[in-house]
Symmetry: C2
Subunit: 333 residues, 2 copies
């Protein structure tokens, strides 16, 4: 293995694995995908096509030449030469452990083995592994080829220095690695998604709001705030010169309001699931999922290009990435 | 009162009331503000200046001529001629009731009396009022002059038809009125904000992540998704052709994972408040709040202008608003 061996094994090529394949591919990596599902190759090719029409539009400089995408017939074939192995198989620990056994029989021992798990801790993933040191969580967000965030979490046995090497590579892919300090279930971002999802289920179950009304409450309001500043910075600004401590003193007591119901878990009955699915159909059933994907991607590109102009958040990251690409191209010539 | 009497009384001119004043003013209304706080007028003028530099940039057609902004010395002076009265006083029911008594002694009985309350139900606000029929919740989001969302909630005694009249006026102001079907504490959006805030406090208290890391987890990831599609539509797309019911069947069981701690309320000790305030200072202490406001506003304008290009969500709303303004200007000439 050399520093210039940019070969990635993508194990599991669904929505997340496919997004990884597209991001690596469009950043010049050789991509080998293993997924035993029957329609996996066709679905992945569609996703890569979506990535091709959106990701390059985030760049103001020449993007790297695409790598080569190969569908392979076994884990062994995928991982043999790979310097990065990304596992995105179903969220069951026994499945992941079995896949790791297979991977580690054939993989380079100094390859990075990243897991896309949204729930498990890396130390759980390392249990029983032949080379636990190369395993870490690298949890991305859909669509992986556009959204920069990636949560990187080391387990108790992850090799010293490997996380930093992973973060360097992820940065080269245009991503924003967030090193998570402590292992917890669901890392950071999904804890928030979970909290909001739980609220949303209650709202629908109690007939307070439909899926569309909830989405509107988010995308015309705080979603726009969060897309650029997040939660605490938004409140810092709202609190004004009096500062965060003052803001919390004002806002904090609301936590003691009688909203305890929000903290129960609604039961996912068939009836509730049907209600949600029906409302979602009413909201956007006129679009196919492929169309919705392209709408979403165009929106993300447009918002992030907007943030490039203000050089903030995801936009600042993209501008830095452009500079890096540009410097590299100059050096190569 | 005539249909052309565009006079608004803004009662309480802080961050929210001031934002209302700016939005009305820049949409051609006469604005009378009452706020007994000593520095209220200066702070409001600064906010209006921020609105002037950002709101017009959302428009591709000529914006209305500004109305006149007057600071008045009493509730009576503010409300006498107003067709819209917007109350944004502190979140205490006794204060709001007292202010309504004062307002309703002098106000037109067919004026709309909207409350910016983020927590109370309109029926609670109507208790003991002389004219409960004109009271409703009109809950906006900071910065009020830029964010389109407004939650409109009728109480048990709100006059039939008044909510629709209010929504028409709010649409003319370029806002997105979301009629909330049922009265609940904190309406819709703030229930989500509350859930996320609670999670955030735990993360910081437990040393999992800092304010900056949490903000990064949001603004480089799901915040960008939510800024254009919200929650359910995002998951609809992620679920693929198999549909929402399939997605929920896959994702829903996570609700039963052992994350019950997420559902306790952390105690807001002085120590926790200090930790948050210190982290927030470290995150962006180099900017003044005024600077951060302008950064936020520039970002929001850039993201929403991006969405105008894709004609989606907040961008579609703005394009429609342009058309409405343009048609009105043609009719006026």
């Amino acid at each position: 293995m050399s520093a210039t061996n940019k070969t990635v094994a993508v194990i599991g090529g669904g929505v997340i694995g496919g997004g990884w394949a597209a991001r690596f591919l469009l950043n010049g990596w050789q991509v080998k995908v293993y997924d035993p599902a029957e329609n996996a190759e066709a679905a992945l090719n569609e996703m890569v096509a979506n990535a091709r029409r959106s990701l390059p539009r985030l760049s103001d400089v020449q993007v790297p030449a695409e790598g080569e995408l190969t569908f392979v017939a076994s884990v062994e074939e995928a991982v043999t030469d790979a310097t990065w192995i990304q596992e995105s198989v179903p969220e069951r620990l026994d499945i992941k452990h079995a896949v790791y056994r297979d991977i580690q029989q054939h993989a380079l021992t100094d390859a990075i083995l990243g897991s896309s798990t949204s729930g498990y801790k890396p130390t759980q993933l390392q249990e029983g592994a032949t080379h636990p040191g190369q395993i870490m969580v690298c949890h991305p967000f859909n669509p992986v080829y556009l959204l920069p965030l990636i949560e990187v979490v080391a387990g108790q046995q992850t090799e010293a220095g490997l996380v930093d090497r992973a973060c360097d590579i992820l940065s080269e892919l245009g991503m924003k690695p967030l090193k998570v300090r402590k292992e917890i279930d669901a890392h950071i971002a999904d804890r928030f998604l979970e909290a909001v999802w739980r609220e949303g289920l209650w709202m629908i179950k109690d007939g307070i709001a439909t899926t569309e009304e909830i989405d509107d409450a988010i995308r015309y309001g705080f979603g726009l705030r969060w897309g650029q500043m997040g939660l605490f910075e938004t409140y810092r600004v709202a609190g004004g010169e009096a500062g965060m401590a003052h803001f919390i003193a004002q806002f904090g007591p609301c936590l003691e309001w009688p909203w305890t119901k929000l903290m129960d878990v609604p039961e996912l009955t068939e009836e509730l699931i049907k209600t949600i699915a029906d409302q979602s159909d009413a909201q956007s059933g006129e679009y196919s999922i492929r169309e919705l994907e392209r709408i979403r991607d165009d929106n993300l590109v447009a918002m992030m290009r907007g943030l490039k102009e203000t050089n903030w958040g995801a936009g600042e990251l993209l501008n830095q990435h452009d500079k890096r690409l540009s410097a590299k191209q100059s050096a190569d010539n």
